[in-house]
């Protein structure tokens, strides 16, 4: 298995120009030149220059599956912490229960956790999430841990290979939110095992062909930037 070392670039580093490439994720353009705006991994393909972030809060993208923690029940919605610069809003229309006005705390309270989907990222970054999709619900039991959102693809692995392996070996249910939050359910010893592996993945090198996965993610991002 090849171990090609990616170049780490820093903010303001010159990466190319708009005549020969397009500015992708993690870059900005000034006077026809493309620069990095963050510290990250340089990823060039035939069209785009991208910088994959090594650190940073989650940037909500529509259709992402995430794990949120309820901050505050409001009269017809809930404010939810999703590890982004802003809390998200979960409207009572977007949950599978019939919630009366002012009765939100009967269903979800501060500290409760939910698996949700990003419904909309609007102007001024107002984020809306929903529970109306199969496999989305209020979480009970298990344990929630978190990793850097930028490392989520590495944890999932090529075509889910890494996560399937984890699930198989530890017989745990594992749900990886794109926002870096991970829910693990199983018996305590196995949960601890999963936590250890996650820690390892976060800090060490792995050989499961993540290059492809990251490129897929980037192609998708780049298309949305257009």
């Amino acid at each position: 298995m090849s171990r090609e070392k990616r170049e780490i670039v820093t903010p303001s580093q010159l990466l190319g120009d708009t005549n020969s490439s397009r500015a992708g994720r993690g870059t900005f353009i000034e006077n026809g030149k493309i620069y990095s705006e963050i510290i990250g991994l340089l990823s060039k393909n035939s069209d785009y220059i991208n910088v994959i972030p090594l650190k940073g809060r989650y940037e909500p993208i529509e259709k992402d599956f995430i794990i949120g923690i309820i901050e505050e029940p409001l009269s017809s919605s809930w404010l939810v912490d999703i590890n982004a610069p802003y809390p998200a809003l979960l409207h009572t229309n977007e949950v599978p229960w019939d919630v009366d006005f002012g009765e939100t705390d009967k269903y979800l309270n501060r500290g409760d956790s939910v698996m949700a989907k990003i419904l909309d990222v609007g102007l001024e970054k107002k984020i809306q999430i929903t529970l109306m999709d199969h496999n989305l619900y209020k979480i009970k039991g298990g344990y929630i841990t978190h990793i850097e959102p930028s490392k989520v693809p590495r944890l999932i692995g090529k075509k889910g290979s890494m996560i399937s392996l984890l699930k198989k070996y530890t017989k745990c249910q594992i749900f990886v939110g794109k926002n870096g939050r991970i829910w693990i359910n199983g018996d305590n010893d196995n949960i601890l095992k999963v936590l250890q592996v996650i820690k390892k993945i976060e800090s060490e090198s792995i050989y499961y062909g993540l290059t492809d996965r990251i490129e897929e993610l980037l192609k998708k991002d780049a298309k949305e930037l257009q």
Binding site: G111, D112, Y143, I144, N188, I191
Partner: protein, 279 residues
């Protein structure tokens, strides 16, 4: 306030019921402790203490001043603590709030009541001039158990402290005319000397949740704690200070167990302190 998911609390409750802690420690085990002294050259004494990822820097500054009228032959000590916004997203800038104040007062009492600093040896001329000792505690990184980290940092900094005769000489000499005994004092103490100290008590903090008691709580454990007890013990295994916090309760049995664990760990921490301050 940090949002703790109820899942996390349930998980921790579950873990301890099965005799485990999230970071694998035993119930009466401290995290790794690191002590470094003398890092701030401008301070008369300084120390940096890490307990796990909690990091505290303490600095000692000295000055000359007037004694309190009810203790004319004693030096004066003052302790301040800053929970600076640097250390945690929950620490706010501004004048110290109750947490910082309680922390400073508990650390102060631990040092004052057990007379760690020989305040009676800090008198230059009774009623006129004495030494002031300022203990300033800065929390740099917060991962639980500030009481023990701050106390230890203050102690290590004190053991690193030298009375600043050289720096204060000009100021002292200016007092000679008014107070002739200053001259004698300077003749007897021409150079910087080690701050006179006595054996310090070592503080150990425990918290209780779900009917289980653990020592040296991590941040997560502190967040779900129902009650907290800090016990300071001296090298003879005697108790010198205690402070209970949060609105839960302890049984007498639990308190006895906590005292034993505090004495045992106090011994280990004390030798670490002596090692790093060369005492």
């Amino acid at each position: 306030m940090t949002l703790t998911s109820s899942i996390k609390r349930d998980y921790y409750y579950n873990l301890v019921k099965n005799g485990k802690r999230a970071d694998g420690r035993k119930f009466d085990e401290f995290r790794n402790i690191e002590i470094e002294t003398g890092l701030i050259s401008k301070a008369e004494g300084s120390a940096r203490v890490k307990i796990g990822k909690t990091q505290v820097v303490a600095g000692i500054k000295m000055d000359i001043g007037e004694p309190y009228s009810d203790s004319p032959e004693k030096g004066v000590m003052m302790t301040a603590a800053e929970l600076i916004p640097l250390a945690s997203p929950d620490f706010e800038a501004g004048p110290p709030r109750e947490n910082a104040i309680e922390l400073a007062r508990v650390v102060d009492r631990g040092i004052r009541e057990s007379e760690v600093i020989g305040l009676d040896k800090l008198c230059i001329e009774p009623g006129d001039i004495i030494w002031l000792v300022f203990i300033d505690i800065h929390i740099i990184d917060f991962d639980g158990n500030l009481f023990d980290a701050a106390s230890l940092a203050a102690l290590a900094a004190l053991f690193n402290t030298t009375v600043p005769i050289e720096r204060m000489r000009p100021k002292l000499e200016r007092q000679q005319e008014k107070i002739p005994s200053v001259k004698t004092y300077l003749e007897e103490n021409p150079k910087d000397y080690q701050l006179p100290l006595h054996e310090p008590p070592i503080s150990c903090t425990s918290v209780k949740f779900n009917d289980v008691v653990v020592l040296d709580p991590s941040l997560d454990e502190e967040e779900i704690a129902e009650a907290r007890l800090t016990v300071a013990t001296d090298k003879n295994g005697d108790i010198r200070a205690m402070q209970k916090g949060i609105d839960g309760s302890f049984t007498v049995e639990e308190i006895k167990k906590i005292i034993k664990a505090s004495i045992d760990n106090g011994r280990t921490i004390r030798s670490k302190l002596e090692e790093s301050t060369g005492n």
